[in-house]
Amino acid sequence: MSLRDEVDAIRLGTAWCEASHVVVLRVSGAAAFATLDRVCPAALSLQDTQLRPTVLLREDGTVFADATVARDDERYLLLAEGPTAAELESWLRQHAVGSDLELERLDHSHQVLSLHGPWAWELLAAVLGPDVIGMPYLSFLRCEGGTLCVRAGKTGEYGYELLVPNAELEAVRGELLEHGPRWNLAKVSLEALDHCALENWFFTIRREGAFGLTPLELGLQWRLSPAKDFVGAAAVRARKASGVKTRLTCVLVEGEVSEGAAVLLEGKEIGKVLSAVPSHTLGRWVAAASLELSLAMPGILGLTVDGHAARTTSPPVINNRSLHVSPQRHTWADRESAQFPPLTLGAAG
């Protein structure tokens, strides 16, 4: 299957993969909240079964993990991309607040299956039951057999990570593959997920996260609590005080872009491309570029990247089908007659 087909499966149908790139720790004990509150820059205002996206920072304020905290009653789950489970565990222990902290790595006992697409909810309902249908974004559901269904997609489409206990794995995967063909289920690569993430302007630690930037330059201040202390807070605040010079900005380019390419305005370099993907949906390349702060703004025409015309824009640049597919009104079987709007936005085209 080509990358293009994989992306189309995510954008229009259902897609799955085994998500070994996500590591999961269960955090419990009296020190669980205080420890997570210390290591996670995000304000952890969470109700039971709610999720909060955060990042994890080194002491110098640079991002080393894209993480999500889930509240499971009085315990927590930490889902992270970036570090290994062992690295994450030892880092968390290093920053423990109080002694009563239990960390359980779920990578030995569970597998993560990842499911995406505007119709993923319908397939999952057939596998896990109808409660999947009503799940709000950034929440999880406890399913029979101990599987947790986490809705935290990073593609702009309905997206779920299933934390499946090993004993259930064959059954859940079996059902997924058995029901899958009815929704044209396709197996996709991590590359395809990351492609869609960039098109929808989700942060990816494997890409723009690899440049040693802080949340200030990455446009991720919304994942930082303005009030509290956290690992890396001092460095982030010092950087803010001394003045942030660049910000990640979405650039649409009319031709192939190489990573590291200069972004030129009237012949002058105003920044560099950190990562880029060819979006066949848009017929252009979508690039995440680190631009001078005064120009890190959408709507600037007349840029040049790798010799091609380019412009800044407001992401996300996809008019996701999932925005228009309602589990209450739609079904895969009637998708042709439902008359959904095109995947491209008028303004972006």
């Binding site: 990640l248 305005l265 005064s294 992401p315 996300p316 709007p341 303004a347």
Partner: protein, 100 residues
């Protein structure tokens, strides 16, 4: 830098700060203006807005910028990030969405 671009950047910066002010004063987002990233998602805990806030946000922008938004599809596609709100305002102000 050409004057049209400078004018656009200045205009857009002013609009961005007004949109941020609406978010802070009317929608009670508990952040300093410059801690509201322009590309931050509005919902799904990005800035902490909730479905109940959706219509309120539109009404407050309509009041602040004196326009009416009757196009539900446009409203939906504009309610994604702070920048997409600024785009909406620009569009309503006469389509000066892009500059040279």
């Amino acid at each position: 830098m050409n004057p049209a671009l400078m004018a656009y950047l200045e205009h857009r910066t002013r609009l961005l700060s007004r949109v941020r002010r609406v978010l802070i004063e009317d929608l009670h987002v508990q952040r300093e203006p410059d801690a509201i990233d322009p590309d931050a998602p509005l919902f799904g805990t990005g800035l902490g807005l909730d479905s109940v806030d959706a219509v309120e946000l539109i009404v407050c922008l309509e009041t602040e910028f004196a326009f009416r938004l009757d196009d539900a599809a446009l409203a939906r596609s504009s309610m994604r990030t702070v920048n997409s709100l600024v785009d909406l305002v620009l569009r309503k102000q006469g389509g000066a969405y892009v500059a040279a």
